[in-house]
């Protein structure tokens, strides 16, 4: 007989609260045996059990209350927050993963190094995504548990209703996009031009005496193609905004790629101590008389300050762009 009935009732009962198990098993056992003829074959038993359905479904029917980790009422908010947090944490892990590995000082590019680079970065991103998922889910599960009783869930005031957005907050003005394209092109070109003509352009005159250039030529040359790519990405990002005219997922994606790239490049550039020309420092010190160490300390602090501020700025921008992109469209009447 292979104990099919016993196995079935066990599989149902193990999903139920301890105190109900024995009684439910006894009931089920009696009911199943009632469904069978006097001397049942194995086929009879299998047929009877099949009509009762999956043990999981039957157990759910026995449970009086529906159980949720995150209930349908919270699902929309949960998914929206989850998407944004995953995108932001994933991007941050990607950038920091790439940067820390590029800055580890390795000069030899072996296959192992590249393998470690790619594999390690993927692992970083994966860990960040899992962590972000766990934190968001735990917070929402906590909210769910905290508002378990229906009275708390249904308690709301008319005053809590959000305001209907005035106009369409998803709209991107054409002027803003065009201005963005122009500024990216002009400043991008200017910056690349200055770096390229470092010898003559990035320097200064005091009392007719010409300083040495700010940067070491050989050190900045490799950066120039990346700055060109950065400028092109920035132009492309504004162009996508101009074309779509509103915050969409593609706008947010391109924007994130561009911000993450620029920020990463900025960090690589500003944290590279070999770029600054020692001759420039001593020339400047000859005028300011502060000592070369103090001067380079100031410059280092300024670089760190710029990095922190632009990192925070980029993060805020990325989040707000994604929030706008995910927002539902404003109702027609108000979207004039």
């Amino acid at each position: 007989m292979k104990d099919w009935i016993e196995r079935y009732t066990y599989d149902v009962a193990r999903r139920l609260p301890e105190q109900n198990r024995a009684e439910v098993r006894r009931e089920l056992d009696a009911n199943i045996k009632d469904m069978l003829p006097d001397h049942p074959t194995e086929e009879d038993i299998k047929k009877a059990l099949a009509t009762l359905g999956h043990p999981r479904v039957l157990a759910a029917n026995y449970r009086t209350k529906q159980r949720y980790l995150i209930s349908p009422e919270w699902m929309d908010d949960y998914l929206q927050v989850l998407k944004i947090v995953l995108i932001v944490f994933g991007s941050i892990a990607l950038v920091s993963g790439i940067l820390t590995r590029m800055l580890d000082g390795t000069t030899e590019f072996s296959f192992e190094w590249i393998g470690e680079f790619v594999g390690g970065t993927i692992a970083d991103v994966w860990n960040a995504l899992i962590g972000a998922f766990a934190v968001v889910t735990l917070i929402f599960a906590g909210i769910e548990a905290g508002t378990k009783s229906q009275s708390v869930k249904c308690a709301w005031k008319v005053e809590d209703l959000p305001e209907v957005p005035k106009g369409n907050t998803k709209k991107i003005s054409r002027t803003e996009s065009i201005l963005g394209i122009v500024l990216s092109a002009v400043f991008g070109f200017l910056w690349v031009y200055l770096l390229y003509h470092n010898q003559t352009m990035l320097t200064g005159y005091v009392d007719g005496v010409r300083f040495s250039p700010i940067f070491v030529d050989a050190a900045i040359r490799p950066y120039i193609p990346f700055f060109v790519v950065g400028a092109v990405l920035s132009i492309a990002s504004h162009y996508v905004r101009l074309l779509s005219g509103r915050y969409t997922l593609s706008v947010a994606t391109v924007d994130t790629v561009e911000k993450v790239f620029s920020l990463g490049l900025g960090i690589l550039f500003l944290t590279n101590a070999n770029l600054l020309n020692p001759a420039f420092l001593s020339d400047m010190d000859a005028v300011l008389n502060l000592g070369v160490d103090t001067l380079s300390g100031y410059i280092g602090n300024a670089a760190t300050g710029i990095l922190v501020l632009s990192s925070i700025g980029a993060l805020v921008d990325i989040i707000s762009t994604w929030v706008k992109a995910m927002k539902k469209d404003a109702p027609k009447e108000t979207a004039k």
Binding site: R26, E27, A30, D34, T51, G53, L58, N61, Y62, T64
Partner: protein, 113 residues
């Protein structure tokens, strides 16, 4: 829209609310799970074993049904019957059902004019 599917899902939703009343209507006398199931199916109530047995248990825990195990025969059986509260509940539900039928009748006749 799959017409058949939509119709079936609305129909089963409509019937689901009436299942419990149907069960109560047959429990003015002692019945065990399987005999009740047969009785319901004979009278045209579409209900599955996997729905009926948990429902009986739920009604019992709510005090609507009373139960006792009969172990005198070779097969032990759990017999259910309406409790005093259950009888009152069933009478009120019957009233509610009649009102509902009347209201729905009036509604649908009005629509035809």
């Amino acid at each position: 829209m799959d017409y058949r599917q939509t119709l079936d899902s609305i129909k089963s939703e409509l019937r689901r609310g009436t299942q419990m009343v149907a069960v109560l209507s047959l429990l003015d006398r002692n019945q065990y799970g399987y005999s009740l199931l047969q009785d319901l199916i004979d009278k045209g109530v579409a209900i599955e074993a996997g729905t009926l047995y948990p429902l009986l248990r739920r009604l019992e825990s709510q005090g609507i049904l009373e139960s006792r195990w009969d172990t005198s025969e070779s097969r032990p059986r759990k017999y259910y019957t309406l409790s005093l509260d259950g009888k009152r509940l069933y009478d009120d539900l019957k009233q509610e059902w009649n009102d509902l039928v009347k209201d729905m009748d009036a509604l649908m006749k009005g629509e035809r004019k």
